[in-house]
Subunit: 275 residues, 3 copies
Amino acid sequence: MTETNEKAVIEKVVSELLKRGIEIDSKQTPNSLGGQKMNDFLSSTSTVPEFVGTREIGDTIGMVIPSVDPLILDKLHVTKKYPVLGILSARSGAGPHIMAMDEAVKQTNMEVVDIELPRDTKGGAGHGSLIIVGGDDPSDARQAIRVALDNLSRTFGDVYNSPAGHLELQFTARASGACHYAFNAPEGKAYGLICGAPSGIGIVMADTAVKTAGVNVLSIASPAHGTSFSNEGMVHISGESGAVRQAVMAGREVGLKLLTELGEKPVNDFPSYIK
Amino acid sequence: MTETNEKAVIEKVVSELLKRGIEIDSKQTPNSLGGQKMNDFLSSTSTVPEFVGTREIGDTIGMVIPSVDPLILDKLHVTKKYPVLGILSARSGAGPHIMAMDEAVKQTNMEVVDIELPRDTKGGAGHGSLIIVGGDDPSDARQAIRVALDNLSRTFGDVYNSPAGHLELQFTARASGACHYAFNAPEGKAYGLICGAPSGIGIVMADTAVKTAGVNVLSIASPAHGTSFSNEGMVHISGESGAVRQAVMAGREVGLKLLTELGEKPVNDFPSYIK
Amino acid sequence: MTETNEKAVIEKVVSELLKRGIEIDSKQTPNSLGGQKMNDFLSSTSTVPEFVGTREIGDTIGMVIPSVDPLILDKLHVTKKYPVLGILSARSGAGPHIMAMDEAVKQTNMEVVDIELPRDTKGGAGHGSLIIVGGDDPSDARQAIRVALDNLSRTFGDVYNSPAGHLELQFTARASGACHYAFNAPEGKAYGLICGAPSGIGIVMADTAVKTAGVNVLSIASPAHGTSFSNEGMVHISGESGAVRQAVMAGREVGLKLLTELGEKPVNDFPSYIK
């Protein structure tokens, strides 16, 4: 069999395997936080009026209920009962979605009324998310969900995945309602999130970050505290904008080195936004 | 092509595949709720007297302890201390197993004494299950476990999986002890379960379902309420049989459309039973 | 090569791959507890002073913070505030890491100040772990972490994995601080852990074990009690050394038979140490 023949056979075998469903697996849990490429596969033939859009990253879906049923509203676990609900829901990613919604509530009149963190990520070490915003105007709700979906390619920029774990860094110069709801961040002040998985890596990142710059430590989350039993260590920090950014970057540097010790260099799916 | 050539080609193909990263397991998590084909691989050579049977769907195993050790019974988390225990345990599936056991307790004198929902499904978005029934007669216990195992091919009928998530619908015209224990369903009345993952889909399904027909909303479960941090939104409903069925079917319709927006049409492993 | 030949080759390759599947898969998340081969891939070029070492089994990393930041120490969830922290963190494995750390605290002056169990194992049924020890001497902390890492090849010896679940057995003739912290084991006495997944298997193992020998039942853990919603049933036992060992071995025997009923014989990655 010639070299050319071999190549042809390999190609055929691969495509045969793909046909037999092995492609599904190769998308399954490529890394710890579900590092899939951004892709808006919104179908124009959708007949569900609640549907707003999706993003492939994190298996994210955005929806709006223009007038929620009173029986449902009564049983939903929301902090305030608005007639219009916007919903952002994902299999993988909590920080990125909360930061994206933080931007969305800044730009609209919607208010965060529920953030819940399933222990998901499709076999990874972290969380998925369910975020509900409430308001009085359906078009405002749709706008909020659209803004959140569009921000995901930014807020996933400092999520780094490897087969062994992941890192997540977030930063905003001015925290709004979503960061306040989820992380108790003081609104209007700079906020930073420094997270590593497996969780011990996040603890060392936190220590390094806080030693680097003078910031306030809001809280430390770990598998049994402030998470849904995810395998993450993280610190929530607040303070002066430059100091918070500097701390976040220092945490990222040490985290990348430590996670690399577990076998492979972690990679992000979108360009880093914290610099 | 000679035998030697074939071996060489196989070796090359394997290493090519490994390079391409296809080694990620084709058996692992084909879909969100572990959609495996039904197959009773009970081994007749088993020497464990407690063993009753297995089903491949959900990696389910059924067992009976004919006379439980008093020290164990004392520490088990059961609501009533019977000497005979029937155990149904699975990696994937909670609703299907609870509905199957609901049928089993109708047909026997066993009583549900424990239902616990691990956050499992082998990387999927939902639960596994541990269900314990108690009674006084070992042969009655074995019968209950057998009935439950046999009902799984029915109760998995409206579980729909896709790579991005899953839907689950359940309906009974007359709820019994398992539905009451797990979901607080009034016994003897019609009960319905409407569930979607990622969780936001389940919230929209719930809203649509309840708007469709006049039913009682027992509760809404979401990642932080009434689940074990699964990525599911679900509503438990009760009421008149026709209305409950109609609501469940309306929830299913919108759920299928929404989950399809996340890439692939969800499929069930067994024929739908709710119609 | 003719078209027919190609088809034949493809068929052979596919079946060869399927045959090799388990092997190939066993590098990814082949089984329920992440059964990877032991391999110390410590990089000598690491520039993070906190880094001590890794083990491929369980994606385990060991680190030491020689002088923890006071703001971090204040927010960490530790039972006692030492300036020096040793950290053992893993994606897969809780019992093995706790038993390994039990040995480490026997050999050093470090004290267990935190054990947290994430619901992890990369899609498997069990836990990962975060274990923090505190002390006053950084070199003592490094020694503790090194001892713990080195003990993993022993304490993973009775962890048995199959595609459907896993079993874990642990035994020590003299429990120390880590077993006491995590499982409430009386220090200085023999302690045994008998665990099976899916959880129902662990309940039957527990019953068999306790019927076999006269031991004290410390507690039973199950998906909703004493675990982080893992799909495990387990019993913690204490008492006379020979009796505890005998009970553990009896639990192992029945567990192997039951888990095998779910399709494949469970295998351990390291030699069994309980005999």
